[in-house]
Structure formats: structure tokens, C-alpha cells
Amino acid sequence: MGELYTRYAAMIYTLCRRYVRDDEEARDLMHETFLAAFDKIETYSGKGALSGWLARIAVNRAINYLKRAHWKIISLGEWAVNEVAEPTREDVNAVSQEKLLEFISQLPDLRRTVFNLYCIDGYSHREIGQMLGISEKGSAGVLSKARRQLQELIKRYLKEKEQ
């Protein structure tokens, strides 16, 4: 068990940090994930990577936590209205991973969750809708706002960095 934790803790911790804003909450989620995994280890059939199995548990735990925490959604209308040019791949490569993690965590709960599920973890809008209790169109709309907000954050960061 300790070996399992040592091997995958950092990965799961980073995943949890993408879904929740607080590092302490991310750590609690990670612990819950491993405790649940240890309890249900017999259900792991061996198909697919163990890391993927753990990641799935962590994602579900994170979504349940956010649901229970009332989806502290902050509607940042200004982010949605301002039209910002999309960053390039080079722009993104110029931003550190820790900084990207910080930008993602600045998104409101729902936008952050949809962005993580769609762009990083590879879920479809239909699956996201089922997981979060929203429609596919709603998921796409939230993703659009998340994209605009991230673009704004990345562009602003790069502009300040140049100065």
C-alpha cells in the first residue's frame, strides 16, 4: 500500500489540485482517493493502467466534493465578454506548469471542472453532462467561457512578463 502511494501520490495530488482551489482540499481529496482505492482494490480488474483507475476515482471524488460544496460559482461576466485572441502553442509553452495550474485553479468551480474534464481528461460533453447534471449544450457553453477566461489570463501574464 505504501508503495502504491509513493508511486502515484504526486500524480493524483496534481490532478486534485486542478479540480479544487485549495491545496489542503486537494490533499484531503488525494487521501480519500487512496483510501477508497485500497478499500475497493479487489474491484480493479487489471484492464487498463492502474494510474487511470486511480485518476478516475480521484475525478469522481473531486466532482462529488464540488457538488457538496454548492458549486461556488462566480460569474465573471467581464471574462466572458472581452474578446481575446487565442494564445498560440508557443505562448502556452512559455508558461510554466505550476503557473498553468494556478490559472486553472482561478477559474470558477464549474468552468474549471468542465475544462479539466474536457480538455485535459478527455471526456465528451455528453459524459460531462451526465456527471455534472447539466446538458451537453450547457457543458459546451461553460467550456467556452472557461476558454475565454484562460486566454485572458495567459495573455495578461505574458504581457506582464514582457514588461
Binding site: 496534481t14 484531503d28 487512496f34 484492464k47 478516475r56 506548469q97 485535459i120 459524459e127 456527471m131 455534472l132
Partner: protein, 393 residues
Amino acid sequence: MNEWEEAIKEKMTGYKSTLPEGDRDEFLALLGGVGKVRPGRKSTLLWALPATIAAVLAVFLILPKKDVTEEALSGRNLPPAEVIEEDVDIIDSSGSDIANWQEEEEITAKTYLAAAAQPTIIVTTGSIDAANSDEPEARTEECIAPDNEENASREPAEEVSVAEISPFDPAAYKPTPADSGQKKLKIGPVVGIAAGSGLIAAVIPFVKGSARVASSPDYDYLYESDSGNSTQAAYNCHFPIRVGLSAGVSVAERLRVTTGLGYSLYRTDISNSVGNTSQYAHYLEIPLRLDWVFLSGKRFDVYIGTGLKGEYCIAAMQSGGAIRGDKPSLSLLASGGVQYNFTRRIGLYIEPELSYMFFGDRHGLQTYRSNNPLMFSVATGIRINLGNHTCPL
């Protein structure tokens, strides 16, 4: 997905942030059963305080208020009044003329007749002695008898048969419970308090008993393969059970403002590949409704109403542990009702109600209400009517 998003995905997928110091030891301690992952949540019952205050206010409204009865004001059954001497002077000063004297007599007789029916009793007499007589008939006769020189020449007036209805007649005096010391309890007509006991919400089978929500992963969601196929959970949301108290305030003859305090229990069964669990959500409701009684009979009252209802989740439990509930919500109400009054005080009512939740964030909990914002329900119960209400209800 855009190119820049692809770049973010590539950067974040393999990224591993640094764990806090001592984290491994802390986790191993948790694994050994030492400590908890999350501390206990603070009580959310603070939100129950406004509802408790509302309930206490409703109780105070039920308390009876002494009211002065109409009979007490009218003094209809008061014991006979004493002689008023000034009336004697009035009679004497106006009795110089026979015609006037007779007119006075008629006035006096009329006064007697009126006094027999009115609370205020004015005794007129031509003689104080006669007035002090204990015999009603004698007093009556003496009232029209002259007692001075001026009146001596007057012919005795016709006897007015007022003795039968004379207020001096003890037989005419009927003691009331008030006089006998018993207090008659009356409530002010403004407020009529209706207490509903038992069920307020539906027992009607034609209402949807439960709603099977589309499968949605939650809780012990486990990923069994990397092909995207996964085990999902199914929700079975049961129709809620509601109880509570209601209070009505008559604002017009057929209009009433109804409010109250209600409690609802929403149960949801969750099943997945790991097992089954149940979720229980407890809500407090405060409705505010305007009712119009458009049909009223001896035993039946029929009314319709519309208004608003606020709901707040005071507690939620799942698998024996507390979970956070939903945010407050607001619903639009439209209802009708029929009440059968067994007695003046007790009636049985049935109220079909249509409610639409138009404000509120219910993404947290899967309940019957979160999946059915437009909900039809039927409330039934016993209503106790207190007070003197001009409104039929």
C-alpha cells in the same frame, strides 16, 4: 480542441507537483485508523433559527386574547339601574302644562319601552320616594304621578303597560356566563389560525411516485477499463413527505393570506456496481399565499390561491454521514382547496398544489425536486379554525 488547449493538456498530463512534507507519514497514519481525512462539519442548524422564530410567532398568534363581548358592551343583561335624580328635575320643570305633561308621559313611556330593549336604563319618576320603592309596578305608576303643585292639577296619565317589559323586572334579567363569573374565550377576528396536522403533501397515487433519473456517476464510481466504458450509478428519487403548520390572516371577507412552516423529507436511492446507498435531504419551507374563498356553504368551503414558497436544506445525509445540502430556492405556487368542516372548529381539507421552482441551485443533490422543478402535489390534513372570522374559513 484548439492547439493551445492541446498544449495545455500535454503539459498538465505528465506534471507531478511536489507533495507537502510529511504527507506520506500522515497518510499512513490515516490508513492505520488514526485521525480523519476531513474534520466534522459545523452545524448548519443556524439556518433553522429563523424558521424556529417563525414557529414561535405562530404559537403566539394562537394564544387567545380577551375581547370585550358585544353583550358586555350592550349591557343587555345588566341588573336594574338605580334612579337618576336629575331626570326627576327634568320632569318637574317641564310639567306646567297638562299637554306638555302628557307629552312628557309619552316620552317617559317611550323611554321605558326603549329602555326595556336598550342597555341604558333611564328611570324617570315624579317622586323620589316612588322611585325608591321596591315594587316595579309602583315605581312605574309613580313615574307618571305628579309630585308638586304644578303637577297636582294634571290628570293622571294613562297607565302605560310597560311593566311587563320593565327593565326593573328581575325576571327580565338573565344572568350570563360572564355574570356568573365564567369567562367566554374569544379570539380577535383579524387572525384565524389554522393548524394542519398530519400529512401536508401527497398521498395521491396519480402523482408520480418516484422518478428514475438518468444514470449519472457519483460516489463510488470506479473506472474499469481505459476504453471509456465505466460503471455508472442510478438514482431513484422518491416523492417527498411533508408536514407542517399553517396560519391564515383574513384581509377581506373572502381573501386570506396564508403562511406557515413546513418540513419536507426527500429520499434518493443510489445504486452502482459497488452497492446501494440512500440519501436523505431535509428541507424547511415557508410559503406565502393569497387565498380566495369563492364558494362557501354550511359544511364546505372551496378556495383557490397563489403565492411563493421558500425552501432551505437544513441537513443532508448519505450512507450514515453528513453531506452538504443545496442552496435556498424559491418556488411559485398555485393551489386550490376544499375543506369539509365537521364542526365550526375542525375541518378536513384537501389541497392540490402546483409549484414551479424558478430560483435556486440544485446541482448538489439529486432529489425528486431537483429533477422535477414543476411539481404537482396534493396536501391533506386536519385544520383547526380558531377565532371569530367573518370569512367563511
